[in-house]
């Protein structure tokens, strides 16, 4: 052993950081797919990551140019980002002072140039006449200058009689000849790229039809899927409890082994591994031994091991990432934890790679040294060395290609033939060098920055205007307060409530409401974690039927069990041999009823189904097992429920976070959220990110129960947080797909609050209608301007329709996150594009609240934003591609078709309307305070310093905005922001502002707000 296993394990751990962070699909949490690169500045990271994953760093140049044409990117944005990017070099003279570097870059961005190979240019010359015409997109003065360069005297006829097209053609041709002369004779540069590391890539580069991954992957996918399966297959893999490597070695070492030519040696090799496992060796050591041995046999020199292993894992990153996720968090396995180990996966992968490579080597005329047996010989080293040695170099542009490029650039800069001929050699080379250096990636990068800048300016200008027009604080006690999740989708609902009733206040808090727990609902079969994924809860809460309903519940449960058995029997039976034969031939036709009903009448069917469920038995009243009696622990090591101190701490924590420690309304609603949709493997991607891809309703309910508990209130009062006795908390859950709120424990609302609650419930329903209406404007299949009632029907049917691939749009279009008092943003139309986090700097003298708020919302909102950003930028490389061929595998993820890598990221149908921009995080705190707080939050500071988040300080006293900039030393600094325009559009209501528009709508100030909650006056004394 040259390499001790400890350092090998470190290398594997490093490689694992580059795998997608996505866990099983039933608790989908949107996270940054480039987590492994977060130590690098964003712009550098995306380019490096694109190389590793074979993905795109930015949108295609054409997409940005379309945005430019639409005015979404303006020339001023390009000029601004160019100025920042080039700094002092912007005015550096080029082409003997006839242009500047800034001008060159701007022209290249605005108009673009075609880079072609010599062959393509030759084709263009012979087959098209494009070279004999000036470009169509030249600016008028430049065109005039070029046309003026032609000498009329050299013409035989009088100048007036020449048609403009003729002069145009002559100028272009002369320029072309000048360019050819200037570039003639230069030889194409040869670029020696770093040859790839993996044998597969080397072989593929030399024989394009010989792809060893095409041999290895189908087999490896079958093995890993069988190992991880959570219950699709009726017959589970034998020996799964021993780990992937041992189980595969057991199954595949049989005498009946595969007889594919490439894998003839495999059974013997696996038998040796199986032998080691059966001897009782430590499975980790067995796997590490295999990895070390295979690396040596593959002939990879030790300094390259790290990169080689990273690339080997990334080659099937979805599956490798899933193995890693289930290794780290076995508690998140949908059904049962399996002993997943990434080292097992890597060992198997390298073994298969070596086997396939040896076979391929034979076909390339490099049969590996005879034997190839148990010795640690580097049998494939010669092949690896030779293929790397003769890796074909890339050729730079030839002289024609250079001339072609120079021809276009000269036109854009207004250089006529004589100007080009007048260039010195040095000047010419410099110009060409600058053009080449401003390659497509560099152009796309700048476009992207400009794209982000426009939105930033729009948003910050609106905030600045909002500050100067902010309304005086409302003196009276609000009628009701509603705490929603910080989710961008709650923005419209909160705005709707506020528009409907001026005396209702809303707040935003991370949607697990400071209650981290495993939760098992009355209809669930096991407990699932409901809290941000970084937290491993220490408490389990179980929902139980009320005592008086226990008998009823038992009866319902037994009915449900029988029905479930029947359904399960049918679905399983239909796949089996004998039962299936009888079942499908006799009863199959009955399926016509649900088939026709579901496809043709989805809404009616859903209503009938829920009606039937209601008929079968009303949901029994339940309560949460919140209070812990004895200090016991459950079998899984968690504690049942919370004790009084813990509850008081939770309530205090949330109320402090959102600044609601005083001034409570008589009714405080706590509203979590989730999403219901059918036929949607990614359903949980629409649930609450702060609940780890679960639904936040139970957390809201638990919080309300705790906050209503007199004992908890007494404890809070003792420590100075007084909640008046006339304050009632009530929990609810908002369905972001159907725009409906369901309320919990309404039977426990005291009679003296009942009227207020009923009024508030109606108000929320009304706001839900507005929410549905606003959401409908985004759906292409809904005609514009549908009335509220129809909008509610439309969103309801989307959640119940088997054929609907866009039940809702999730976080698509998210762009900003505002941490601060709602009073500052109230009445501002934010188009569901902003996370809204309530935070009151006035209550936070030491910055402690800001610290814990940023610690939570920075990674969560940043992660969501980056997941959408990358899934949109490269739907195939980072996203899950189109949903249509998705195939649920092992109940943990989806593949494309029958055997592909696990598709991670978001499906294209969820991001097609998204604008990929980095999160603009506006924090209502002085720059110094933010700097101070970030020093204590290394993770967030890293994201901010490396610009994965655009951070803005909004001064709570002056209202001044300041943009974060990263100093050379990596420190956080702020630069004051000067608004571009002082004016902000004004509209009477949200609906009036967005009416008739499908795309993103800029911020506007809403003027009309109803003064009080309707239906309220009659009730309050």
């Amino acid at each position: 052993m040259h390499q001790p296993h400890a350092s090998l394990e470190d290398m594997i751990a490093t490689a694992a950081r580059f795998l997608p962070p996505q866990g099983p699909i039933d608790s989908f949490v949107a996270q940054n797919p480039l987590q492994g690169f977060e130590d690098l500045p964003f712009e550098e990271a995306v380019i490096r990551a694109a190389r590793l994953y074979g993905a795109q760093p930015f949108l295609p140049e054409t997409a940005y140019r379309e945005e430019l044409a639409k005015g979404r990117i303006r020339i001023t944005d390009l000029e601004a980002v160019l100025a920042a990017d080039l700094g002092g070099r912007r005015l550096a003279p080029l082409a003997g002072g006839r242009a500047t570097l800034g001008r060159l870059h701007l022209q290249l961005l605005l108009h673009g140039v075609r880079m072609e190979s010599d062959v393509a240019v030759r084709w263009t010359l012979t087959e098209s006449r494009s070279i004999e015409r000036l470009r169509d997109d030249l600016e008028p003065q430049i065109r005039a200058r070029l046309l003026a360069s032609v000498d009329p005297a050299s013409d035989h006829s009088s100048p007036g009689s020449i048609a403009p097209g003729v002069i145009d053609g002559r100028v272009a041709s002369e320029l072309w000849h000048a360019c050819v002369e200037m570039t003639a004779g230069a030889r194409a540069a040869v670029v020696h790229d770093q040859p790839p590391l993996r044998h597969r890539d080397l072989i593929l580069a030399s024989v394009p039809t010989l792809d060893t991954d095409a041999l290895v992957h189908p087999l490896l996918i079958r093995m890993v899927a069988a190992f991880l399966d959570q219950g699709v297959a009726a017959w589970p893999m034998p020996d799964r409890d021993q780990g992937l490597l041992a189980a595969v070695a057991g199954v595949y070492s049989g005498r009946l082994g595969p007889v594919e030519p490439w894998s003839r040696e495999l059974p013997d090799r696996l038998r040796r591994i199986r032998g080691a496992c059966d001897r009782g060796d430590d499975p980790r050591k067995v796997a590490l031994d295999v990895i070390a041995a295979e690396l040596r046999r593959l002939g990879v020199p030790e300094p390259s091991w790290q990169d080689f292993m990273t690339e080997s894992l990334v080659a099937l990153k979805g599956w490798a990432g899933m193995v890693r996720q289930l290794e780290d968090r076995p508690d998140r396995a949908p059904v049962e934890a399996v002993p997943a180990r990434l080292i097992d996966f890597l060992a198997l992968r390298l073994l298969l790679d070596r086997t396939a490579t040896e076979w391929a080597a034979g076909r390339l005329g490099h049969p590996p040294a005879a034997g190839g047996g148990p010795t640690d010989e580097a049998t494939l080293a010669p092949l690896w060395g030779e293929l790397r040695g003769r890796h074909p170099p890339r050729r730079g542009p030839g002289s024609l290609a250079r001339a072609f490029l120079l021809h276009q650039v000269s036109q854009l800069l207004g250089l006529a033939a004589d100007d080009v001929r007048g260039l010195g050699v040095h000047e010419l080379l410099e110009l060409e060098h600058e053009v080449a250096a401003f390659d497509p990636i560099a152009r796309r990068r700048l476009f992207h920055l400009a794209y982000e800048r426009r939105l930033r300016v729009e948003m910050l200008d609106a905030l600045a205007a909002q500050w100067s027009a902010k309304s005086p604080a409302n003196p009276g006690r609000p009628r009701a307060q509603a705490v929603f999740c910080i989710d961008d989708r709650c923005e419209s609902w909160r705005r709707g409530l506020e528009e409907l009733a001026g005396d209702v206040e809303t707040f935003g808090a991370a949607g697990f409401f400071a209650v981290p727990m495993y939760f098992r609902g009355i209809d669930d079969w096991h407990a699932v974690p409901l809290c941000p994924i970084v937290i491993r809860p220490d408490h389990t809460v179980i929902e139980r039927p009320e005592d008086r309903a226990a008998a009823n519940h038992r009866f319902q449960q037994s009915v449900r069990r029988s029905l479930g058995r029947l359904r399960g029997g049918i679905s399983e039976g239909s796949r089996s041999l004998l039962r299936g034969g009888i079942l499908t031939s006799v009863g199959g036709a009955l399926a016509a009823v649900p088939l026709v009903a579901r496809v043709v009448f989805p809404r009616l069917t859903a209503r009938l189904a829920s009606g039937a469920a209601a008929l079968a038995g009303r949901r029994v009243p339940t309560r949460l097992d919140l209070k812990r009696g004895a200090d016991a622990r459950l079998p899984d090591g968690t504690r049942p429920g919370f004790d009084l101190d813990e509850m008081a701490a939770i309530v205090r924590r949330l109320l402090e976070d959102i600044g609601l420690t005083s001034g409570h309304a008589r009714l405080v609603a706590i509203i979590g959220h989730g999403s219901t949709s059918l036929n949607n493997p990614h359903e949980s991607a629409y649930d609450c990110g702060a609940c780890g891809g679960g639904r936040g309703g139970p957390n809201a309910r638990a919080f309300a129960t705790m906050a209503n508990d007199p004992a908890v209130r007494a404890r809070l009062a003792a420590s100075g947080l007084v909640i008046p006795d006339d304050v009632v908390f009530v929990g609810g859950m908002q369905d972001t797909c159907t725009s409906v709120i369901a309320w919990y424990d309404t039977d426990r609302i005291p009679d003296h609050h009942r009227g207020e609650f009923e009024a508030f419930r109606r108000l929320c329903a009304e706001a839900g209608g507005l929410d549905a209406q606003e959401r409908c404007r985004r759906f292409d299949s809904v005609p514009p301007g549908v009335p509220v009632a129809e909008a509610l029907g439309r969103v309801e049917v989307r959640s119940a329709d088997l054929a609907q691939v866009r039940p809702e749009y999730g976080h698509a279009s998210n762009a900003a996150c505002i941490v601060g008092r709602r009073a500052l943003t109230r009445g501002l139309f934010l188009d569901r594009r902003s996370f809204l986090v309530s935070y009151d700097p006035g209550h936070d003298t030491a910055g402690r609240i800001l610290e814990r708020t940023l610690a939570a919302v920075g990674p969560v909102c940043g992660g969501i934003n980056l997941a959408y950003l990358f899934s949109r930028i490269d739907p195939l490389g980072y996203g899950a591609g189109t949903k249509l061929p998705h195939n649920i595998t092992a109940l943990i993820g989806v593949m494309d078709g029958h055997a592909s890598d696990l598709r991670t990221g978001l499906p294209f149908q969820g991001v097609d309307i998204h604008e990929p921009v980095r999160l603009l995080m506006v924090v209502e705190a002085a720059p110094e305070r933010i700097q101070d707080v970030l020093e204590r939050l290394p993770v967030v500071k890293n994201m901010v310093a490396n610009r994965w988040i655009q951070l803005v300080s909004w001064h709570p006293e002056t209202g001044g905005l300041a943009l974060q900039e990263t100093s050379a030393a990596g420190g956080i600094a702020f630069v004051p922001y000067v608004p571009e325009s002082e004016a902000i559009p004004v509209a009477s209501s949200s609906a009036a502002w967005y009416r008739g528009r499908r795309g993103n709508v800029p911020p506007a100030r809403l003027t009309a707000q109803r003064s009080s909650m309707p239906g309220q006056e009659a009730v309050t004394p």
């Binding site: 792809d211 060893t212 095409a214 041999l215 079958r222 899927a225 069988a226 219950g231 699709v232 297959a233 009726a234 017959w235 893999m237 199954v251 049989g254 005498r255 009946l256 595969p258 007889v259 030519p261 949908p334 209809d523 669930d524 096991h526 449900r560 069990r561 399960g568 679905s571 239909s574 796949r575 089996s576 041999l577 034969g581 079942l583 031939s585 009863g587 199959g588 036709a589 399926a591 088939l595 496809v599 059918l678 036929n679 493997p681 359903e683 299949s781 329709d801 088997l802 054929a803 609907q804 691939v805 249509l884 061929p885 649920i888 595998t889 092992a890 109940l891 494309d896 078709g897 029958h898």
Partner: protein
């Protein structure tokens, strides 16, 4: 030449409409798309929906009409390809107890899929292409089912094959999808030899491809008066033809791979319609099979073997679509065995019934997580492995070995590629090398005899 009289009576008009409707839809979407101005999504689905819905209604009306006449065959004569006295090829449709129920359900399913796909494929780049293929598929299906002669049936069969292959390769930017489509198409083409051969033999034996010349009596009571040797030969060819489309061992490998297209196309085409096309042809020629009991027994053996193979292999599949593909294959095997036993109405009912149930399951397959959680909640835990508890009684080594065979899909692909694909490729490559040398010799150029590396890696 007799003048076509297909519109002479209402039943004929109804039958003809079932062909005209999908063809109209095909032209209505296809021509504008060819001219570069494809119809809007809404217009496309409306057009195809109208075609299949009216076709479905026409089929139901036909069913009522012929049921009224005791399911007597109703012939619709459309024309004649050629007629040389003793030998003729006619274009003829037949509405009888087999074709009409079958066309009812196939057109109905197409209409449902159209309704589903209109929403499912919303904003998808291949939207128009999908509906063109759907209309083509419906045309081929109805042509095959309503065929009154083997020539028409063959034409429908081919439309079915090509549209199925193109739908499997719908996402043609993905290599897996294209490979799977090519595999399915190759399998289809190999087995088409059977149908084509049968057509030649039948023409030779009866001087025509018409069913009325081959059979006497109406389905399912038809008898076939050809000599036993001819019956056996035709039967064997037809069985061979059915093996490919119905995914029977050893030609079943394409079916699980075919799950590359969009879900609605998987649902009807492989789960429900395409996979039963073989069964339909065999049912159509049941009288010939009756005259050749040996072929019937062969069919029973193949069908039962496929059913057993698919049931075992299906039980270890870990993805929803492969699992459903093998479940379909199991039933397709049983159905062929039923046909081999000489039953007629039972397999027809089985086909229709199975196709409907499986379509529902495939359309619902993205809900698997949902359904699984509901089931687990109802049962108070996840349903454990039940079916294969029997396997646990086997000795460990044996059950591991059996699991291995199942996970490797019975080594069917390895076997097929080792026995057929690789030798064929080798032969083609040596022929290619030979030709190069030959051309070089004649042309006097340098001999380029480097072996062309065909996609051998992917074939394995």
């Amino acid at each position: 030449m007799t003048t076509p009289r297909f519109l002479a009576d209402p039943v004929s008009a109804l039958v003809v409409w079932q062909l005209v409707a999908p063809v109209t839809a095909l032209a209505g979407i296809g021509l504008p798309a060819l001219l570069g101005r494809p119809l809007s999504e809404r217009a496309t689905t409306r057009l195809v929906g109208t075609a299949f819905t009216t076709g479905f209604i026409a089929a139901l009306a036909t069913l009522a009409a012929i049921a009224n006449q005791g399911f007597a065959a109703h012939l619709v004569h459309l024309g004649r390809l050629f007629d040389v006295g003793h030998h003729a090829a006619t274009i003829e449709l037949v509405a009888d107890g087999l074709s009409v129920p079958y066309v009812c359900f196939s057109t109905g399913l197409c209409a449902l899929v159209n309704a589903f796909a209109g929403k499912y494929l919303h904003r998808e780049p291949g939207f128009t292409r999908f509906f063109i293929l759907l209309a083509l598929f419906g045309t081929g299906m109805n042509l095959m089912v309503l065929a009154g002669s083997i020539d028409v049936l063959f034409a429908g069969w081919e439309f079915l094959g090509i549209s199925s292959a193109l739908l499997i390769g719908f996402f043609h930017e993905r290599r897996n999808a294209v490979d799977a489509a090519l595999r399915a198409f190759t399998t289809y083409r190999i087995c088409d030899v059977g149908l084509f051969g049968a057509s030649v033999v039948i023409h030779r034996a009866t001087g025509s491809g018409d069913f009325e010349r081959l059979f006497t009596g109406d389905w399912p009571h038809a008898v076939c008066p050809v000599p036993a040797a001819t019956a056996l030969f035709v039967s064997l060819l037809l069985v061979f033809a059915a093996l490919g489309k119905s995914a029977q061992v050893p030609f079943s490998g394409w079916l699980p791979r075919a799950m590359e297209g969009p879900t609605p196309s998987s649902a009807i085409f492989y789960g429900a319609l395409s996979i039963h096309a073989g069964a339909y042809v065999l049912l159509r020629y049941e009288a010939v099979l009756d005259a050749a009991p040996a072929a019937g027994w062969l069919l029973v053996v193949i069908g039962a073997g496929t059913a057993l193979h698919a049931a075992i292999v299906g039980s270890v599949q870990t993805d929803l679509k492969s699992m459903l593909a093998y479940a379909s294959m199991t039933q397709a095997g049983i159905i062929l065995a039923e046909i081999g036993f000489g039953w007629r109405v039972i397999p027809l009912v089985h086909v229709i019934s199975h196709a409907i149930l499986r379509s529902l399951q495939i359309l619902r397959s993205p809900s698997a997580m949902h359904d699984r959680h509901e089931l687990a909640a109802a049962l108070g835990g996840h349903p454990g492995p039940s079916e294969w508890s029997l396997m646990r009684l086997l000795p460990k080594g044996v059950s591991r070995g059996l699991y291995h065979i199942a996970l490797e899909r019975g080594f069917e692909e390895t076997f097929v590629s080792g026995l057929f694909v690789r030798p064929l490729l080798a032969a083609l490559m040596s022929a290619d090398a030979l030709e190069r040398r030959w051309v070089a010799t004649l042309g006097g150029g340098p001999a380029d005899d480097r072996p062309r590396d065909f996609k051998e890696g992917a074939a394995s």
